[in-house]
C-alpha cells in the first residue's frame, strides 16, 4: 500500500494519519429486519481479491469519513471520495 493517501479535503497525506474501518457493507438493516438479514450484515463479508471499497477515517487530519477503492492484491488506490457522497438507498 502506498505511504501516501490522497484525501479529497487535505490532499496527499501520510497513511499513518488514517484509521481503516473495513468493507463498505450493505446499508444497516432496519431494527425489525429478520435474523438472516442481520446475520448477513454483521458477519458476512465479500472479502474480494481485487477492487475493494472500504471506510477510512482521516483521524489525524480533517476527521472526515472517506470511502477508498483499493486493490487488495496490489494495494493500489484508484478512488477516494467523502463518505457523505455515498448513496444510502435501501437504508431505513
Amino acid at each position: 500500500m502506498s505511504s501516501l493517501v490522497k484525501c479529497p479535503h487535505c490532499g496527499l497525506r501520510p497513511r499513518e494519519e488514517f484509521t481503516i474501518r473495513g468493507e463498505v457493507a450493505t446499508p444497516r438493516p432496519s431494527a425489525g429486519a429478520d435474523e438472516a438479514t442481520w446475520f448477513d450484515h454483521v458477519y458476512l463479508r465479500d472479502n474480494p481479491r481485487g477492487e475493494h471499497r472500504e471506510y477510512w477515517h482521516h483521524s489525524s487530519g480533517c476527521r472526515r469519513w472517506l470511502v477508498l477503492t483499493r486493490n487488495t492484491l496490489t494495494h493500489e488506490t484508484s478512488d477516494v471520495v467523502d463518505a457523505s457522497t455515498l448513496k444510502t438507498e435501501g437504508a431505513q
Partner: protein, 416 residues
C-alpha cells in the same frame, strides 16, 4: 525409504548420491475420492491422516504454488495449547499431543522443541485473567504455571521490568509449548502422505468448481479438469476467494501479517516470550536469529507482504519489552495472508453443498493447530461427523449466536 541412523550412515558411505526425492511429482489422475484444495500445512496434514488413520488413499492435494510456499513456511513456528474456552482447549491440547509424537509418527525430523511459552502480564487485572486461564488449562489437564516477577527474572533477566507504562509483574508459562521447524512439518506430512499413495500436485491452481445441483462433481484447474467424490478446502488466507467459486460468503476477512528474523546472535532467549501490553512475541531459532512478529496490518489484503508502518509498530513493542533489541539488526521480514474470522476462532465444518467441506478461519493461530486440524478435518471427511475435539468450530455458530470468542476480539485491528 525409512529414514534412520542406518540409512544416514549407508548414504554417507555412498557419498550421499543415492538419496531419492522425498515425494513424487505426479500428474493429476482424472478422478479422486477426495480432492484437498491447498497444499499447506493443514491440507497436507489432512491428506496424511486421511491416508494413515482413516484408510482413504485415493486422495489428491492441489497446491497453487510450490509445496510450503504459503503460511506453513511464513509463520513464527510457535506451538502451544494455552487456551481458555471449552471449545478450544481440548482441540489445541490434542494438537500438542500430536506434536509430541509427530516426528516418530511421520519419520521426519521436525525439530520439535518444547522450550516453553511465557505470556507476560503487566497489571493486577491481567494477572487475574491469566490465573483464570491457567486454572482452566489445568482443569483440562494442560500444564500451566504462574510465574511471579522474581521467578521470571531468573529465567528472563533481560526484560524491561521497570517499564514506566507497562511494568512486568509476572507471566503465565506453558512449559510444554515451544517451537517447531515449520518447513519440515510441511515436508514430513507431504512425504508421509505421498508414501501412503496421496498425489501431491504442485503448481496446480483451482480456477473453478463444477457442480451438479448441490453436489460437487470436480474442479477445473490450471492442469485440467479433475473429478472427485468429496472436495475439501484448506486454503486459509484465500478462503473467501475460493468459496466465491461456489457462491459462498464467509464470516472472514483476509489480512496481512508480517514476521521478522534478526541476524544470528549467541544464545539469548531460550523460550517463547509474548508481550502482554502489545502484540509482540519472540523466540530464538536454533540458527541464532530472533524470530518475532506483531499485529496484523489492519486492512484487507491478499498481498503476501506488509508495510513499514507495521514494521515500526512491531519494533516499538519489541523495544518496550526487551530494550537490548535496539542493537539488533533485522535480517528479513515477510508477510502472509490470514483468514481473520469474526470471532477469532477457526471454522471446520460441512457446507451448504453436500460433498464440500471447509477448513479455514485460523486467524493468526493456524500453525500450532496443524496436526489436529489435519486429523480432525480427515475425521470429518471420512465419517461426516466432527472429531470430538472440534465440535465447536461450526460454520453456523455466528448465526446461532454461539461465538467462540477466546480473546473477545474481532477480525480487524480496531476490534482488538
Amino acid at each position: 525409504m525409512r529414514y534412520s541412523a542406518l540409512s544416514l550412515l549407508g548414504n554417507a558411505f555412498s557419498k550421499n548420491k543415492n538419496w531419492k526425492p522425498a515425494w513424487r511429482n505426479p500428474d493429476p489422475k482424472p478422478n479422486y475420492d477426495v480432492i484437498i484444495i491447498g497444499g499447506g500445512g493443514h491440507g497436507l496434514a489432512t491428506a496424511y491422516y486421511l491416508s494413515k488413520v482413516f484408510g482413504v488413499r485415493n486422495v489428491a492435494v492441489l497446491e497453487k504454488g510450490y509445496l510450503g510456499s504459503g503460511n506453513i513456511g511464513r509463520n513464527t513456528t510457535i506451538i502451544r495449547s494455552n487456551y481458555l474456552l471449552e471449545g478450544n482447549n481440548p482441540f489445541y491440547e490434542f494438537s500438542m499431543k500430536l506434536w509430541e509424537g509427530l516426528e516418530q509418527d511421520f519419520n521426519f525430523n521436525a525439530m520439535v522443541s518444547q522450550r516453553g511459552v511465557i505470556n507476560l502480564f503487566h497489571s493486577d487485572a491481567q494477572r487475574d485473567a491469566y490465573t483464570r486461564r491457567g486454572n482452566a488449562m489445568r482443569l483440562h489437564g494442560v500444564d500451566a504455571e504462574l510465574l511471579n516477577r522474581d521467578q521470571l527474572r531468573e529465567k528472563l533477566p533481560f526484560l524491561d521490568y521497570e517499564n514506566a507504562r507497562f511494568p512486568i509483574m509476572g507471566g503465565l508459562m506453558q512449559a510444554r509449548g515451544g517451537t517447531v521447524r515449520h518447513d519440515a512439518v510441511a515436508w514430513g506430512f507431504a512425504r508421509g502422505a505421498d508414501q501412503n499413495g496421496v498425489d501431491i500436485i504442485q503448481n496446480c491452481e483451482v480456477t473453478g468448481i463444477d457442480r451438479d445441483g448441490d453436489q460437487i462433481t470436480g474442479v477445473q484447474t490450471t492442469r485440467g479438469a479433475i473429478t472427485c467424490n468429496k472436495l475439501a478446502m484448506a486454503v486459509a488466507g484465500s478462503s473467501s476467494h475460493v468459496a466465491k467459486m461456489v457462491d459462498m460468503r464467509l464470516p472472514i476477512e483476509s489480512h496481512a501479517l508480517q514476521a521478522f528474523v534478526s541476524e544470528g546472535l549467541k544464545p539469548f532467549i531460550d523460550t517463547v516470550v509474548t508481550f502482554g501490553a502489545g502484540h509482540f512475541y519472540v523466540s530464538q531459532s536454533d540458527k541464532g536469529g530472533l524470530v518475532f512478529g506483531g499485529d496484523i496490518e489492519g486492512y484487507n489484503s491478499y498481498a503476501q507482504r506488509g508495510n513499514l508502518a507495521c514494521v515500526e509498530h512491531v519494533a516499538e513493542a519489541g523495544m518496550a519489552m526487551i530494550p537490548a533489541l535496539s542493537r539488533v539488526r533485522i535480517l528479513r521480514s515477510w508477510g502472509g495472508i490470514m483468514d481473520m474470522s469474526m470471532d477469532g476462532s477457526p471454522i471446520m465444518d460441512r457446507t451448504h453443498l453436500a460433498n464440500l467441506y471447509f477448513n479455514g478461519g485460523w486467524c493468526y493461530g493456524g500453525f500450532k493447530a496443524t496436526p489436529a486440524s489435519g486429523y480432525c478435518f480427515a475425521h470429518l471427511l471420512a465419517t461426516d461427523t466432527p472429531h470430538e475435539t472440534a465440535t465447536a468450530f461450526r460454520m453456523d455458530r455466528f448465526a446461532r449466536g454461539y461465538l467462540l470468542d477466546e480473546k473477545g476480539v474481532g477480525a480487524q485491528a480496531n476490534l482488538h
